[in-house]
C-alpha cells in the first residue's frame, strides 16, 4: 500500500508545474525553464542581462533588483506577447551607433505587454517599442546622460511603428527626446514628466495620438509635432523651456491638431507654428513667455479662441507675411490681459471693438536673429511703445471679439474719469 502511495505521489509531482519559480541560476536559464504564464520573483541582487523573453511571463523584482546588460545589445528583449515586467532596474544596454540595430534597456517586439515601476539607466534608448501594439508603460523612470552629447544617446521611450499603446506616469530626464513617436498612431501619453531633453515629446509621421496632463520642463523644446496630424493635446504644462531656439510646443507640418487647456509658462516661445494648417488652440494659457505665439506665414488657418495671452514680452510674432489665422471663433476671441485696454460698456464680457495687436519686433527679428537676445530686456518694451506711438508697428493679430474679464474692463477709463472730475472741481475752486 505504502509503495503504491509513493508511486502515485511521484507521478503527481512529475505532472505538477510550479506557478512560481525561485530565482536561482542565471536569469535567462530561469526564463527558459519557466512555463508560459508563470511568475518569476527576483531577489534583491544584480542579474546578468541581455535576456530574451519568448513566452508570456510575469517577472517581478524587489527594491534592489538590477538587471545589468553586457553593453553590447538590448538588456531585455521581449519577443512574446503578454509579458509583465515590474519593479526592476535595467542598466547598461549597447550604445554603439554603428550597429544595424539601436539598442535599449528594454526592447519590445510584441503586443499586450506591461512594463511598470522600472528604472532604466546607462542605456541608449530607455524603452523601445518596435511594431508593438496595445502595450502599457507606466511609472517608468529613464535617466539619460544629461548634459552629455545629445546625439550620442537615444530617447527615453521610443515608439516605432507601434499603435494603441498607453504611456502613463513616466519620468524621463536627460535623454535625446523624452518620448519619440515614429510612424506610431493612436497612442495615449498621460501624466508623464519630461525634463532636460532635446524635445520632451516628439512626433514624426504619427497621427491620431493624444497626450494629457504631461509636464515638459527645462527642455530645448517642450513638444515637437512634426508631419503629424489630428493629435489632441490637453492639460499639459510647458514650463521653462528656454534658450535661443527653444519653445513650449512646435507645430511643423502638423495639421488638424486640437490644443486645448494647456499652460505655456516662461518659455522662449510658448507656441511656434511653421508650415502647419487648420490647428485649433482653445482655452490655453500663454503666460510670461518671451514670445507667446510665433507664427510663420507658411502656416494658415489656425483658430485661436478662449486663450489667455498674458504678460508675454511679445504676445504674437508673425514672420514672413500676411496673417491668415483666425483669432476668434463663434464670436469668442481671446483674453489679451493688459495688452488690450478695451471698453466693455454693455458688460457682456467682450470688447466693444476689435483688438489689434501691433508690434515692430518682427522687423528686427527678420533682419537679425540677435534681436531675440533682447526679449528679456525691459528696453524692448520701450522700443515697442515708441514704435506704437509712431505707428511704426505692424498688426500681428486682429481679434474681432476679444474677451474682457467682467469688472476689469478699462480701469484706465475710470481713472481718467476721476481725474477729469477732480480737475473740474479744482478749476471751479480756483476761479472762486
Amino acid at each position: 500500500m505504502k509503495r503504491w502511495l509513493l508511486i502515485s505521489l511521484f507521478f503527481l509531482c512529475s505532472f505538477y508545474v510550479p506557478n512560481e519559480v525561485d530565482a536561482d541560476g542565471t536569469l535567462q536559464q530561469l526564463i527558459d525553464a519557466a512555463p508560459a504564464h508563470s511568475t518569476i520573483r527576483l531577489e534583491n541582487k544584480t542579474y546578468k542581462g541581455d535576456l530574451v523573453i519568448d513566452k508570456p511571463l510575469v517577472i517581478i523584482g524587489t527594491k534592489g533588483t538590477v538587471i545589468q546588460g553586457s553593453g553590447r545589445g538590448n538588456v531585455i528583449s521581449v519577443k512574446a506577447p503578454h509579458v509583465v515586467i515590474k519593479r526592476v532596474t535595467v542598466t547598461n544596454s549597447g550604445k554603439s551607433r554603428s550597429t544595424q540595430e539601436e539598442y535599449a534597456g528594454i526592447k519590445v517586439y510584441s503586443d499586450g505587454n506591461t512594463l511598470e515601476e522600472i528604472t532604466v539607466t546607462r542605456s541608449f534608448h530607455g524603452i523601445y517599442l518596435s511594431q508593438a501594439h496595445h502595450n502599457r508603460i507606466a511609472n517608468v523612470r529613464v535617466i539619460g546622460e544629461q548634459n552629455g552629447d545629445i546625439a550620442g544617446q537615444g530617447n527615453g521611450l521610443h515608439i516605432y511603428y507601434s499603435n494603441f499603446n498607453e504611456l502613463e506616469d513616466n519620468v524621463i530626464i536627460g535623454t535625446r527626446d523624452g518620448i519619440f513617436f515614429d510612424y506610431a498612431n493612436h497612442n495615449v501619453a498621460r501624466r508623464n514628466e519630461v525634463s532636460r531633453t532635446r524635445y520632451g515629446l516628439h512626433y514624426m509621421y504619427s497621427d491620431d495620438n493624444a497626450f494629457y496632463d504631461n509636464t515638459f520642463m527645462l527642455n530645448n523644446g517642450g513638444a515637437a509635432i512634426m508631419n503629424s496630424n489630428r493629435i489632441v493635446l490637453q492639460n499639459n504644462r510647458f514650463v521653462f523651456n528656454k534658450g535661443m531656439r527653444s519653445f513650449g510646443l512646435l507645430l511643423q507640418m502638423a495639421n488638424d491638431n486640437q490644443i486645448i487647456a494647456n499652460t505655456f509658462y516662461q518659455n522662449g516661445r510658448g507656441l511656434y507654428v511653421d508650415q502647419s494648417n487648420d490647428n485649433v488652440l482653445q482655452d490655453n494659457l500663454f503666460l510670461q513667455n518671451e514670445i507667446g505665439i510665433e507664427l510663420w506665414a507658411s502656416s494658415q488657418h489656425q483658430t485661436f479662441t478662449k486663450n489667455r495671452i498674458w504678460k508675454n514680452t511679445i504676445a504674437v510674432l508673425r514672420l514672413g507675411g500676411e496673417d491668415r489665422n483666425r483669432w476668434d471663433a463663434h464670436g469668442v476671441g481671446n483674453d489679451w490681459g493688459d495688452e488690450a485696454a478695451l471698453f466693455d460698456l454693455n458688460q457682456d464680457g467682450k470688447g466693444d471693438s476689435p483688438f489689434r495687436y501691433s508690434s515692430s519686433f518682427h522687423k528686427l527679428a527678420e533682419e537679425n536673429e540677435l534681436a531675440y537676445l533682447f526679449l528679456s530686456s525691459p528696453s524692448l518694451h520701450v522700443y515697442e511703445k515708441i514704435h506704437e506711438w509712431q505707428q511704426a508697428g505692424d498688426v500681428m493679430a486682429i481679434d474681432r471679439a476679444p474677451v474682457v474679464q467682467k469688472g476689469k474692463a478699462a480701469h484706465w477709463v475710470w481713472g481718467l474719469a476721476v481725474l477729469g472730475v477732480g480737475t473740474m472741481i479744482w478749476q471751479r475752486g480756483f476761479r472762486k
Binding site: V171, S195, R198, M217, R245, E367, L370, S377, S379
Partner: protein, 265 residues
Amino acid sequence: MSYLWKEWLELSRSKAFWLLFLPVAAASLSVLASVKSLPAEHGLPVFLQMMFEMNVYIVPLLCLFFASFSVMQEKEQRTMVMIVAKSRSPLSFLWRKSAAIQLLTMAVLIVWYFILIVPVKFWFVFHVPPFLHFLLATMALVFMFNQLGILLGLLCKTKIQLISANLAVLFVFLYLYDFVLLYILPSVTYDNVRLFSFVYFLQPLHALRFYLETALGVFSLDYLSRTMKKFFSFPPELFVLLNIAVWGVGALAASIGWSRKGEER
C-alpha cells in the same frame, strides 16, 4: 571693526534700507509662491533663476541708494571730516567705508536667502551648487552697484543731485544701454558679432543672467546658428569677471582718484 559696527548701527536704524529690502523679500516670496507647484526635482533652478530676474530690478536700486546715501550722510553730517581728521586719510576712509557697506549688504541678503531656502527645501530637491551660483551672481550684482553707489555718493554734493544720479545710473543699465544696442543691431554681421558680444555682455545684467542661466542649465545653447555660436563663444565667467573689473573695480578706482584729488585740494 569699529567701522563695521558703526555702519551696522546706521544700517539697522535706517528705515530707508529696510524699506528697500522689503521688496527684495516680498519678491522672493511671491516667486516662491508662483513656482511651488513645479516638479520637486527641477523646481530649484527655476526658482533661483526667477528670483535673480526679480533681483535684477530691485537689488541695483537697493545698493545704489543705500551705498550712495551712506556716503552722502557722512558728508552732510560732517562725520566724514571727523573720521578723516582722526589721523586717517580720505583713502583709508573710502576703503573702510566700501568694505563695511559691501559686507553688510551682502550679509543681510545672504542671511535672507538662507532663511528663504528653508521652505524651499520642503518643496524642491535641494542641491548646493545651484544655490551657490545664485548667491555668486547676486553678490556680484551687489558688489558692482554698491561701488557705483559709493562713487556717486562721493561725486554728488546734494541729495537731489544724488537721487538724480542714482536714477540716471539705473536708467542707463535697465533701459538706455540695451536701447542703443537695439538701434545698432542692424549693423551687426557675422564678421563683427564677437565685438558685439563683448559690448552686449559688458552690461552686467546680461552677463550675470547668462552666467546664472548656463550654470543652472536652464538656458539651452544647443542647435545654434553660426552667428549665434560665434556670439556665445566666450565663457560666461569671463564676462562676469570683465563686468566686475569694469563696473565694480572701475568705480572703486574712480572713487580713489576722486578722493586723492580731494586730498590734494
